[in-house]
């Protein structure tokens, strides 16, 4: 989009910094229609699914009670009207009340559970980046060596073992097994409530390994193949022909190029981690958002489903924006179209 298409930005002076600022503002504005369509799609799918928030197993609510509940939460109105009411609320940052937890706001429920998920995801991400990239680089630089096969084997095993298997094995060995072996003096807790925003706590060890195995393997394999590709490039041969030390060839010429696609992949990986995993959170009794999202879907908690979806959509959009902005700094060939 040309600058002329946004006349209200015309007063901004031209230059590299303002080009970047305009780019960011424009992308933030684009998030509005994106979110609108995310809400439309979720709303339609949600109401297409059979059942409703008042269905119960076993003893059902009486029709009178259901009718009263529908009136209370506006579910008796036609769907288009419900939709408009909801959008009107979202514009005012009002995401409604949870249908399954009476009296609790959706935003309150989300803000209660998300910090646990975020802490787990962020810690996993911070450990995964150096580990995945390091394994990949070492494997590529020592291609076909024992180190390469070990790293690849580990990555393949981690990628092909389902996380519920990894989690259960960890519990068996690190919690139950060690408990028995040490006579109960040293073992890892099978779960429990981690403290939000504290990365250093023993409760996180097993869930971090379970959650991080697959993405670490993915990043390691991506780094390895990208680095192997770069090693074969002509400019790397040029670097050797100059008489550079091996360390400089690798740092300045190989990694500076081979890590560009890895950065692209790290964005979605981060989004994947901080949106939580139902399995990991259930396995380790973490009251996170991944678990609450699945519960609200099966419970047809319409407002919770929409609220959580909006949070995830915003997260993914923001992460992608950050990756795109980072690109400008790591790859000089990328130009922001103005």
């Amino acid at each position: 989009m040309r600058r002329g298409a946004l006349p209200f930005l015309a007063w901004i002076p031209r230059g590299r910094g303002t080009t970047l600022a305009v780019f960011i503002i424009r992308r933030l504005l684009w998030m509005i229609p994106v979110l609108f369509f995310v809400i439309v799609i979720t709303f339609v799918l949600m109401h297409l699914a059979p059942g409703g928030p008042w269905d119960r197993e076993g003893k059902q609510l009486t029709p009178q009670v259901i009718n009263n509940l529908n009136i209370k939460y506006g579910l008796d109105k036609p769907l288009p009207q419900q939709f408009l009411t909801y959008i009107w609320g979202v514009v005012h940052f009002d995401f409604g009340d949870s249908l399954r937890s009476p009296g609790q706001h959706v935003s309150q429920r989300v803000l209660e559970s998300w910090p646990y998920t975020f802490t787990l995801g962020a810690v996993t991400f911070l450990l995964l980046v150096p580990l995945g990239i390091g394994l990949g680089v070492v494997a590529a630089l020592r291609q076909n060596s024992v180190a390469d096969y070990a790293a690849l084997g580990l990555a393949t095993a981690a990628a092909s073992t389902p996380n519920f298997v990894i989690g259960i094995f960890l519990i068996i060995f690190l919690a139950l097994g060690m408990n028995r072996l040490t006579g109960g003096t040293f073992y890892l807790p099978t779960g429990g409530m981690p403290q939000p925003f504290n990365p250093f706590q023993v409760e996180l060890i097993m869930p971090v390994i379970t959650l991080g195995a697959l993405p670490t393997a993915y990043i390691a394999r991506l780094t390895r193949s990208s680095t192997l590709d770069t090693l074969r490039q002509d400019f790397v041969r040029t670097a050797w022909a100059k008489g550079l030390k091996a360390r400089l060839v690798v740092m300045r010429h190989v990694l500076k190029n081979s890590l560009i696609p890895v950065v692209t992949a790290l964005g979605p990986t981060f989004a994947f981690l901080v949106t939580g995993s139902f399995i990991v959170e259930t396995l380790f009794s973490i009251p996170g958002i991944g678990r609450s999202f699945v519960t609200s879907i099966s419970g047809r908690d319409y407002t919770m489903i929409l609220g959580t979806t909006i949070l995830f959509a915003v997260l993914i959009a923001v992460v992608n924006l950050i990756v795109d902005v980072l690109y400008v700094f790591i790859d000089p060939r990328v130009r922001l179209s103005d």
Binding site: R237, A241, G243, L244
Partner: protein, 358 residues
Amino acid sequence: MGQILLQVEDLHTQFFTSRGVVRAVDGVSLHIDAGETLGVVGESGCGKTITALSVLRLVPEPGRITSGKILFRGRDVTKMDDDEIRDFRGNDVAMIFQDPMTSLNPVTKIGFQIEEAMTAHKRFSAGLAKGRVVELLKRVRVPAAETRVKDYPHQFSGGMRQRAMIAMGLANEPALLIADEPTTALDVTVQAQIIQLMKQLNRELGTAMMLITHNMALVASLCQRVVVMYAGRVVEEGPVEQIFDSPQHPYTWSLLRSVPRVDEARKDRLVSIRGLPPDLVNSPAGCKFHPRCPFVVDRCKVEEPPLAEVAPDQVARCWVLMRNARQEDVDAAKTSALSVEAAQTLKAQAKVGGVAGS
């Protein structure tokens, strides 16, 4: 000319592939004197580039120098340890590559890539190196060198990138510059500029040059001596004028005849060499060129000829030699370049198009 700068003796470089051992360089000997420009010519895949990469010990996996000596000022490159070979590369011998579009790091500034070639060695201090970058870019005639040092490769055209590569090669004032097809990837007009530049630099700086090419015109305009390679071997070597006037190996003769000439009346056909270069895993017995040679005799098929002196300073690896070839064979070779049918088709097209045929 002067003293011998680089002497390659009986070099063998082989690639150990799953198909078998590829003898890419099979007993090559050549030498370059200080200040001299040597042309190395031959078709693709005849071992020119691998010979050059062997000199810098940059042969890619799974290739290895299996035997032979590479003496640079008396020191054997094949026996240098890691530190010695690192300091040798880019300092004593520099190399510029065929494709300037891919030979520069896309995410690093041009100026820094040249500066780095100097800071890798001790000839210029870090402070001096920075200042010299602009000077080098000016020397290779990059316009507005002061501002362009901060550019990235994608902001340079192909010709400008090759100039930057040359500047990088010259950064440490090496005694020998190896240029591997330096103009192949460039437009014809840009090629001429680069050739002109290399000629001037050779005159101004006295840097010896090893020019690897399949372009005979480039050899004629730049080189003093020429080495012709075929299937990993030297088949003919001598002073450029002598080779151009009286090539003795049929391969050299065919190479020269396959270059179109504007100044000569078009009485002869352009000769394309029949067939393809041999597979270097199972190369033919006897002379490697015999399956494609128009002057082949029985001896060629069983016994490989030695590299023998055929004229002062000129050696060739052939049992027949062009001066002994029968005139009717030569004429036949000239006309058989195109099959009769193909020639008639071409003629018919020329008539339809209203263009006067030969």
